[in-house]
């Protein structure tokens, strides 16, 4: 557990929010499990919503860094993304995508939490496009959106099936798309 109160709050809140949902976890729980005093929380985060945003922003940075690192380690190709996902799905504390979950839970699209979550997804799409550009596909922007759809589909399916199988399923589809792109444009 981190030393500073702020860091302990972020770590505890992230864990609880992800495991049980944002609405389901009260301030009381976060205070109890982090050992931080009530006043200290509100000194760092004026409201629960500010805490939520801070948690999501930190998770966004960490998650994308993790993905880039794993993709690199797994060969660097676009479909390595799904091998990385398979690792995530296998973890027994896997509970889907924190950002999808946030957009589902906080329905208002104009809410700050919802927007942070939507921003995360766009950054992931941008990363996928960069990956596909490096792989020299003919239409990286189109394919990036299709890959993103596969990623989210795999995550949601894994949440429901509770096995890593959806990752390999999505990977198979992704490679079919890459093959079709290669056949159509003559590269690969």
């Amino acid at each position: 557990m981190p030393v500073k109160a702020r860091d302990r709050l972020l770590a505890t809140a992230e864990e609880l929010f992800y495991a049980e949902g944002i609405r389901a976890v009260g301030i009381e729980r976060i205070l109890a499990e982090s050992g931080v005093g009530r006043a200290s929380l509100y000194r760092h985060f004026p409201s629960k919503d500010d805490l939520v945003v801070a948690v999501l922003e930190a998770r966004d940075r960490r998650w994308r860094a993790w993905l880039a690192e794993r993709v690199e380690a797994l060969g660097g190709g676009p479909s390595a993304v799904f091998d990385a996902l398979a690792e995530r799905f296998a973890r027994n504390d896997f509970r889907g995508c924190a950002f999808i979950n946030t957009m589902v839970e906080s329905a208002d699209p104009d809410g700050s939490a919802h927007r942070v979550a939507a921003d995360h997804k766009e950054r992931v799409v941008a990363y996928l496009e960069q990956l596909l550009t490096a792989a020299r596909v003919s239409e990286p922007d189109l394919l990036a959106r299709e890959f993103a759809l596969l990623v989210d589909g795999a995550i949601v399916t894994a949440l429901r099936e509770r096995t890593p199988a959806p990752a390999v399923r999505a990977r198979r589809i992704a490679q079919a798309l890459l093959a079709a792109d290669g056949a159509g444009a003559g590269n690969g």
Copy 2:
């Protein structure tokens, strides 16, 4: 608005749950907007959870009937599923899939609401397999799971992009899969 208290409760609860989330909507709201008395609610549904389950079961039946009807009207082929989805995504009250949302919101996989939601998805997969079998693909069970992944991916993406575009994106992928199946097995 339906006449009987029970039906009004189900209609009001379904609308509010879908629009704002299950946890976000209190019993008070449902009573106020349905015009039903407090005692009447608890006469029909012993707890909020029972109400949630009843709402989801009704929605499951209605949703699958709607899908089958639209697919039939749109040609009856497997990829008509995505044309049906596009209609759904275009509605301005679209807020994703009520069952995915339920599984996200009620984290506990053993909870009744979560199980009803999971059951719904399996019934959809079964329907897809039936559709693909009729279309004489070589591996209907494998393809059904892939189609289901595309469906959920499209729904989640539509929730985030707030346009019907993900439906046509998923449709394109689906047809690539059908084409690959036809090429590999020599049917189509």
